[in-house]
Symmetry: C2
Subunit: 96 residues, 2 copies
Amino acid sequence: MVKIIVRTPQDIGALIRARRRSLGLSQADLASKLGTSRLWIMEIERGKPRASLILVLQAMSTLDLEFMTDDEGRSAKAAQTTSRDAVMSEMRRRSK
Amino acid sequence: MVKIIVRTPQDIGALIRARRRSLGLSQADLASKLGTSRLWIMEIERGKPRASLILVLQAMSTLDLEFMTDDEGRSAKAAQTTSRDAVMSEMRRRSK
DNA sequence: CACAAAAGTAAGCTATTGCTTACTTTCAAG
DNA sequence: CTTGAAAGTAAGCAATAGCTTACTTTTGTG
């Protein structure tokens, strides 16, 4: 199970297409599961840059795919800003 | 470094907001780095569902964030479909 | 080859995005 | 309490997303 990094709409298109195929679904099948049009599936698989976020996320979940991202241990502990960040924002405040 | 799963526009909004703050950037700062409007930053941080994919991906990269997904070892090896998938797609073909 | 499903292309339409500008409200620090 | 930056709200507008329908091309099997 290798981690793939997703940076571009093309990456997402390729991911969706590969997964759709590996599940044996046609574009029409996926479109109807998702409640979108077959045309939309076509376009997203081609890397449509301005596709809407929610449809992409729904497609991911329909295909049992998940996005992950690294959290830099900032979750609960650093509710109060770190002193370094405080300084930085102070600096910006002062500069013009 | 904990992996966070991102499933909804709200998840993305929270992620972007947290990271923006931890970098000491204002919404206006981020908007101008990204070439979008401050209003867009506002909306995305609130979980705008239909925001456009490309802007979201650009925001991620501007903030040094990455999306990852699991590849199920399907990369090169299984260029030719697995026999099980072949059967399934065959079945679908025949059924109506 | 021949046939059917899947995939791709096109055109036209409405709803929505993302923008600008301008104001208001909240926050942080003296 | 005052003040300036950041954040939130609002209105109006051009560009475009995503839809339907219809047609064409490609793909995979017998």
